[in-house]
Symmetry: C2
Subunit: 487 residues, 2 copies
């Protein structure tokens, strides 16, 4: 035997194994690398010779090498072969991603669950869609009529690709006090925040590119990135924002094109970034040349004392994209949001918007423009804030009273609380049992992009009133007690 293969005598591949040969070979080589038997810089054998030694097709070796490379275990140098890479254990565990295709069917199933009709006798602490009762119907109806009478047929023809110009102007004015310098030319009107994420993914990510997200993060973003064939690397969220050390380490290893973050009232945790972490994040993005997509999910509902300026306000070199939905707290069914882009991306974003759905409905844009300019929007938000501030307080009070075993860092605002369960409890099981007692909650598993973690719960106070909130959390406390008792 060629001495070249001494290191590989332990490898046993079998056609009877449930895994295909290349996956077996991948696993065996990965094992040798992780055990340190093949160390950093080790030159792997040439494909054909290795295949002959293993008595498999060269294609098997090629595929195993490919998977090892995709997962960061080896790297290739053109013309000289494949080498074992330097190993950061933690980083490698993250990069592991054997499912490369989006599992659309699985996503569709969770979706079907999530839109199942809610029985009327339940306490809904799951939905984050605001109460239909709170929609300012008459105000909006009157701007709609005003716009139709004013613009006639033009209210119904195609809009400019970037969106109705006066609306882009009105939004620029609205953003000024928050330190965001935008002009209508760098703004793109879109059909809701989800479309913003999808469009940015299309504009920046190619198949196989890396994108970084917080962990946990918004599942809609995970789905949009996966659908692009992008690989998601997750960075832990802490109470004061993303883990910066982890971010830096992973930036060194993966060089992503895009960082997707929610610096203000993060979804699902409700936490916000400290000033220090904001500026560190932007510096790192600059150094590693990544674009930062900032999803301003719900900062109008800030119940903390600190003011939350957008990252975009400290974007010095045009690498921040600011995404905001106006309709979340207003009329989710309106499907209206916008992106503020760096000037050099404005054209690309517009062309992606164009081949996604041409343009956002003109009537809505015109009506909302009037709504903003008349100041009705500010009035509406103020009243919504008051209502949710009460529910927010009621939720925190009930949690500290009825859920003593649970860890909850108070959110800075928003519509939800993020709870960590005591060790040994399964969030999915608790959600199920609470549902049997007619309380609806959300398990945290769906918010983790890679490995579902089953020890978090999300409680929403968007729909239930203060009494219902208290009652629902009390029931949840009983369910948790029962479970603890059983451990």
């Amino acid at each position: 035997m060629n001495e070249q293969f001494f290191d590989f005598v332990s490898i046993q591949l079998s056609k009877d194994n449930k895994d295909s040969l290349y996956v077996q070979l991948y696993g065996a080589l990965r094992e040798l690398i992780l055990q340190g038997k093949l160390s950093h810089g080790y030159l792997l054998p040439p494909v054909r010779k290795f295949a002959a030694f293993l008595t498999v097709n060269p294609g098997t070796v090629v595929n195993a090498y490919k998977l090892l490379e995709q997962n960061g275990y080896i790297f290739s140098r053109a013309g000289s072969g494949s080498y074992v890479a330097e190993i950061h254990d933690q980083v490698l565990a993250e990069a592991e991603q054997t499912v490369f295709e989006t599992d659309m069917e699985a996503f569709a199933e969770t979706l079907a669950d999530s839109i199942a009709p809610i029985a009327n006798d339940c306490i809904d602490l799951a939905s984050i869609t605001p109460d239909p009762e709170m929609v300012p119907i008459e105000d909006f109806k009157s701007v709609l009529i005003e716009v139709i009478d004013r613009d006639k047929g033009y209210a119904f023809t195609y809009q400019e690709g970037q969106g109705y110009y006066p609306l882009r102007e009105a939004i620029s004015l609205y953003l000024k006090p928050q330190g965001v310098n935008s002009i209508p030319e760098n703004m793109q009107i879109i059909s809701g925040a989800q479309q913003g994420i999808d469009i940015v993914a299309k504009a920046l990510l190619r198949y196989g590119d890396y994108v970084f997200t917080e962990s946990p993060t918004y599942p809609g973003a995970i789905a949009a990135f996966r659908s692009r064939g992008a690989k998601i690397i997750e960075i832990s969220m802490e109470e004061d924002g993303i883990n910066i050390a982890e971010l830096e380490q992973k930036l060194r290893s993966f060089r992503p094109k895009l960082l997707y973050v929610m610096p203000n009232i993060q979804n699902p945790t409700g936490w916000s970034y400290s000033l220090n972490k904001r500026s560190r994040l932007m510096s790192l993005a600059r150094y590693y040349d990544a674009i930062v997509l900032e999803d301003d999910y719900i900062s109008e509902l800030n119940f903390s004392n600190s003011s939350l300026a957008p990252l975009k306000a400290i974007d010095r070199d045009g690498r921040g994209i600011y995404l905001k939905s106006f309709s979340k707290l207003f009329m989710p069914g309106l499907r209206l949001a916008f992106l503020v882009t760096p000037p050099h991306l404005a054209n690309t974003i517009m062309s992606v918007k164009h081949h996604s759905d041409i343009s956002t409905a003109g009537l809505t844009q015109r009506a909302f423009d009037l709504y903003l300019r008349k100041g009705v929007w500010d009035k509406h938000i103020a009243s919504v804030r008051n209502l949710y501030a009460e529910r927010y307080q009621a939720t925190l009070d009930a949690i500290s009273r009825y859920l003593p075993e649970v860890t909850c860092h108070s959110p800075h605002g928003g519509l939800t609380c993020w709870l960590e369960l005591p060790k040994g409890l399964s969030a999915e099981k608790i959600v199920q049992q609470a549902r049997d007692k007619k309380v609806l909650l959300t398990a945290g598993t769906a918010f983790f992009p890679r490995r579902p973690i089953d020890s978090y719960l999300r409680i929403s106070f968007a729909v239930a009133d203060c009494d219902k909130i208290k009652q629902g959390i009390q029931t949840l406390g009983e369910v948790i007690q029962e479970q603890i008792y059983r451990i």
Copy 2:
């Protein structure tokens, strides 16, 4: 020298060449294959040896082989190497695609041109957006108000993922007389036809997959497919539909996941498929296991004697997806369309819609539902048809009078005519010169997915009235005469 390389002594690679080494090698090998010097089944040399012979990096050879394979010149067998493929000259020329990434910037530029404001003193034979004057404003305003008063806040909250159920029901009823059996469960409401194409592309195409389109075809579809990283294979359009022999030959070679067609009043030609071609297309799709996306662009404006049943009406095994915009002839700015999908794709399509933009605006859906149910839609379409039938006739008359040198197969309807210029004339030049004389037209180049062909013009009669049409086409005739004179 190893005799293995006798066949390659003519290859000269140079670092001073503007093309990179692998592109040069690709070109040289391609040349040898096309000249028949390397025939079908020829085993190409192993990468490393070949690289040593050429004194280049193995990576260069790998990349050249990759490109040859992507373009169909060679194929690899795992474990035994790369072989020269069987050559269908015509097919190979089609498969050539050296630009693999979507050129977003270029697309954005053409886009910026196309939405540039139109001077008022021009005759617009370019735009296919119906006249804002024709929008039934008062009718729609009254259904909007009725819906808001009826549904209150519910008109503004999230809609079900597939769309407002009663609207899906109303559309199913509307489709029945056309032979399309749909149920609300297999229908997806979307924000315009462009989004439909984008969603189907996302649901079915992975990076590198093949998709077939007619040639010429709708540029928005080209952009959506490119953005998925799909490779487009084009099939010629004939007056009675797609070229079936060419379709079959290419199906054998490429095995696409998706065929995108417009069997009724094709965009841009205005031609429709014969019954025979419709059924042949569906049989071939069945045999080669491809999904057919049928874009029913504008069949309401059928000015021919034959009735145009959708392909979906003869879809026996659930491989047809029917796409229709309701807003094209009504209110383009409404952004409302739908897909009828095979049952096995309904969930996937819904999940793709969900991560594209959650759902289509609810208010619009509810208003349009009422509009359909009240029969106002049918009334509107009848009046639009009468108007456009006149303009259609005026356009054909003017073409036969003022453009004797041009070939024009009468379209079956729609809003446009497709003209073939006499040999030697450039469509883009003529568009430019017509523009100087204040007549706006569209050059056909953008409608060809792969190689722009510069000998077609599209004339639209969507915006100009009969007099303007006549006047515009007369001017076009003068421009063409001048050009012929110069040849």
